[in-house]
């Protein structure tokens, strides 16, 4: 009980953390029943021009230190993905059995794996695979999801029913199970993994886009666009999608992180990248037997996955805060 009491009403915590809280409180208008301060309303950014939206977004993102750090980290990962294979100290697919399962040392920073391959080089080289799969899978899910969601939301009627029922069915199966089933049908391989992971996350995007379209379809300016005689497709792409953009961007950023996790999971199960291509999940799956004998083989690839996923999650959270003023009050 006494622990709860510490937060009681007239207690005053340190000032540094206070200030932010205060601003939030005022934004919500709860602290002062008679509205002590003119509330600075974060008005709907709906009708603003995209230029402003980008600028606004960048400004709020810049204010979020965690998101900024993660953005830098993500950019660094992209650089590693691009130049990684050229800067690895060893050939990431060169085996040297005499040197297998060596712990980290000056020559091999992260040690060597069961085949004597340099783990550091493989972790660096694996960045490209994870990022590529993440980005491609999300692109597939995003484009398909946007198109399906837009059609469903815009057309309505039986088209909507059919599309959304199929989405419901896909959501009724855990995504990793669906992805594995897809992999079984498509066969092993990284390209198949991209497709499988992309397909299973279509419903999320379709739902978001459909929901957004339904909520703004009735808006006056859409009706106005109709009156002016713009084609439906043009209306969708010029007017409806930009409005759903912020939600989609946030979702897609978080989607990259789950795509990377799924890739690693498929790799771990031996379904993704085929050896000797370096991939983090696959490295973990193959080194599993050496868990007590050579823990370092399992440590670094896992850290790489976690750090990458964490960075995209942080970035996604930061973007959400930056793009959705209402989320900021949380």
């Amino acid at each position: 009980m006494s622990e709860w009491n510490q937060s009681s009403v007239n207690e005053v915590p340190s000032r540094g953390s206070e200030s932010q809280k205060a601003d939030e409180t005022f934004a919500m208008g709860i602290a002062l029943p008679d509205g002590q301060i003119p509330v600075y309303d974060h008005d709907e950014t709906f009708h603003e021009k995209p230029e402003n939206q980008w600028l606004e977004m960048w400004r709020s993102l810049r204010a979020n230190r965690a998101a900024l750090v993660s953005l830098v980290f993500v950019l660094a990962l992209v650089v590693i993905a691009v130049i990684g294979p050229y800067i690895t100290p060893y050939n990431p697919i060169e085996t040297e059995m005499s040197n297998a399962l060596k712990p980290p040392s000056a020559e091999h920073w992260f040690g060597t794996d069961q085949l004597g391959m340099d783990i550091f080089s493989r972790v660096i080289a694996g960045t490209r695979v994870s990022l590529t799969v993440g980005l491609l899978a999300v692109s597939i899910a995003l484009t398909t999801g946007i198109v399906l969601g837009a059609i469903a939301g815009y057309a309505g009627g039986w088209v909507d029913t059919v599309i959304m029922r199929v989405m419901d069915m896909m959501l009724a199966i855990p995504s990793i199970l669906l992805a594995i089933t897809l992999m079984a049908a498509l066969g092993k391989g990284i390209d198949k993994a991209v497709i499988a992971i992309g397909l299973v996350s279509i419903p999320e995007y379709a739902r978001i886009v459909r929901g957004n379209i339904l909520s703004i379809k009735e808006n006056d300016y859409i009706a106005a666009a109709h009156v002016v005689g713009l084609s439906d497709a043009r209306i969708i792409f010029r007017h409806v999608l930009p409005n759903a953009l912020s939600v989609i961007i946030v979702r897609a950023t978080l989607g990259i992180s789950s795509a990377i996790l799924d890739t690693a999971a498929l790799g771990f199960l031996g379904l993704g990248v085929q050896p000797p291509q370096p991939e983090w999940g696959d490295m973990l799956g193959r080194a599993r037997g050496f868990i007590f004998q050579a823990p370092h083989t399992l440590l670094y690839p896992g850290m790489a996955i976690t750090a990458t996923v964490l960075a995209f999650n942080l970035l996604g959270d930061g973007l959400r805060d930056a793009l959705d003023p209402r989320a900021r009050i949380k």
Binding site: S7, M28, P174, T181, G302
Partner: protein, 339 residues
Amino acid sequence: MLKYVIKRVLMVIPVMIGVSIIVFALMRVFSPDPAPIVLGQHATIETIEAWRDANGLNDPVVTQYFKYLTGAFKGDLGTSYYTKTPVTEEIFARFPATIELAIAAIVFASIVGILLGVVAAVKKNSIFDAAGSLFALVGVSIPIFWLGILLIMFFSGYLHLLPSGGRIDVLLKPAEVTGFYMIDALLEGNWEAFGNALQHIILPALALGMYSMAIITRMTRSSMLETLGQDYIRTARAKGISEGKVIGKHALRPSLIPVTTVIGLQFGSLLGGALLTESVFSWPGIGKFTVDCILKSDFPVVQGIVLLVAVIFATINLVADLAYATLDPRIKYSSKKER
């Protein structure tokens, strides 16, 4: 309320049929032919054809599907290509293990997640809040299978505290009644077996539940923060009741409403996560088995498992919705819109 439940159950049927069509199409149309895998490399074309005939694989796909569907309604999901055992038997032999693990994981995730979420919200912007947020962030970012590996390394390899895999020591295995070893052990009054089963389930439950715990923490925190800003919290404080009651009763209960939905959804996704956890911890459940069957193109088993998982998924959602309604008196079943 019964009417609502029936309506919801009826709504699930078309989804299940759809799911079965998707899986059927994936398995029978796109997947590699199981015959050579089942019969081995040395099978002749004749034996393969004979096998395909025997298993109905040479019929048109639509015919195959309707045969399967009528069988499924009668509770017959076919037999495994490999073990020749009925699929239902194969599944139910392994399912309790998975459900036991999933329940342990969701219980851990809910208790710890709600606790952390509440503390983070009540002590907003404090060190507890920051630590909770960081923990939650890592929780959603860490791959289940790697977390499992780390747990084994630390608790089994380094501390020698907990077993690294399996459900129970073979010698202590209780007689199967429910298939849940912990319950079976209690039914026998065998405390040693219960303790042993408990020791075995801790690490996989932690690994499996971590992601859900993180999601529940975040949800509880934001929901709790919203509730704490409500006028009725001020009313409660103005009554002069203890702060523990203000938080633990007036703020917690409304905050838990959205959390129950999340818990329901998370329980569903745990079944997917179980695939990975089970393979890390050699947990004799359905997860590892599923992966093997998919890779071996054991169609009937895979179809059965996916259908069953989808049914469970739907059931959990229904239960979560009902829980939601008991927590929130404003919800009326009749006026509730379809999802």
